[in-house]
Symmetry: C2
Subunit: 242 residues, 2 copies
């Protein structure tokens, strides 16, 4: 039975898994879960994961959530995957795990937190609280600084490695989420981070043409979201007005 | 050169790494980093990790942060470690990665978030914001429910496994952090979760006597912290007064 990947292309971890499958020529079926309309709460999706998050995969009897765990599993279980994505050497692997773990509480919390509280929540009629927005923005800026000055200090890819790993793919998809912010905020947030911007281009090149193909939904959403947000008085800037 | 473990026993991921080293008879030197007094910002600690978080290990030329990455590295690099901590089978390993990843954005964010905003921040004269406390509490309660009903649904240990893995150790140390809350809040939060309470006992037994030995600092801190918090008018309950 072919590998099934459940996800939505608006979700950055879903995009990472989809790009990974395509670049490694893994045969899979993409199953769109309409999370923007609550399809993850359906009885059917509850049978895939009672935690009801995306992405998820089903491979034979295995049902698995969490994109990092999925990327590691695919790297180890599909023999066609090039070894640079998840090297066998324990020290190289440890660095990749370390970056992936750091991602959760730092870059992901900042980027996904800011996009959710300033874009997705208001567009869905949910209230955002100023202190939670400020916290997400602070975490994001600290994370981008650490990404630039620690993880991208040496070499083209994260952790000073010359070829991309699953950490590059996962974190690059996270930074791409910031494209949903309005143009002024986007440039203000990212412009100090030259290495981060170059690294995004390098990950995009290394995974061409799939990086752009899978991000097309995000780019299409960007214009509509920016227009909608621009019409909402006082919500155009990252921080809600006091 | 012997393995060096940098940490503080008030930190739940530091405790997980210390217990793991002891139960697996890994020869190591524990180096106390006085994070409550800002020692992680010293020039000396910056040479261990510019991200300045604990725990960290130094093993030969390898410097590594993030407790999950450390536990995986130790499991793979020290031959005396029993295989149940981090099984070689890709599907079993995938489940453990999945639980460890879930930990970051769910249980850890809720438990560490609540303890920080309601205990550690106020005790250090830092302001806590009501909405951030409420958010942490909501994430914690949802996480405990998923821990009880999903990860502990089948079997003694997480993911339906009969022997403890590094995920059990890591998540159990996280739940133990809640002991710093006042007694009423602690019991109110944990009492609905019978399987979680039994599982903590099972992890404690499986890692005896080291679990209690390493948690002694937490238990000693508990009384002092509860007394201090009780004297701070209006801050005795989890939620700050409106």
């Amino acid at each position: 039975m072919v590998l099934k990947v459940y996800g939505h292309r608006i979700s950055e971890p879903s995009r990472a898994v989809l790009i990974f499958c395509k670049i490694n020529m893994i045969d899979f079926e993409e199953i769109h879960v309409e999370v923007l309309k609550g399809q993850q709460f359906s009885q059917e999706y509850g049978a895939i994961t009672p935690i009801r998050q995306i992405p998820a995969i089903v491979d034979g009897h295995l049902k698995l959530i969490e994109s990092h765990a999925i990327l590691i599993y695919l790297s180890c279980s599909f023999p066609g995957v090039a070894s640079h994505w998840y090297p066998g050497d324990p020290q190289k692997r440890a660095k990749i795990h370390s970056i992936l773990d750091w991602h959760h509480s730092h870059l992901r919390r900042g980027a996904a937190g800011l996009v959710y509280t300033t874009i997705l929540a208001p567009l869905n009629g949910l209230r955002s609280f100023l202190q939670i927005v400020i916290q997400a923005e602070e975490i994001l800026l600290k994370s981008l600084s650490e990404l630039e000055n620690v993880w991208l200090k040496d070499g083209t890819f994260l952790g000073g490695i010359s070829q991309p790993s699953i950490a590059d793919l996962s974190l690059a998809c996270e930074v791409m989420q910031l494209e949903l912010l309005n143009e002024e905020d986007y440039h203000q947030i990212l412009s100090p981070y030259k290495k981060v911007k170059k690294w995004i281009k390098d990950v995009r090149s290394a995974t061409a043409p799939y990086f752009d193909e899978i991000h097309e939904y995000l780019f299409e959403s960007q214009k509509g979201i920016r227009d909608q947000m621009a019409t909402q008085s006082g919500k155009k800037k990252v921080r809600p007005k006091m």
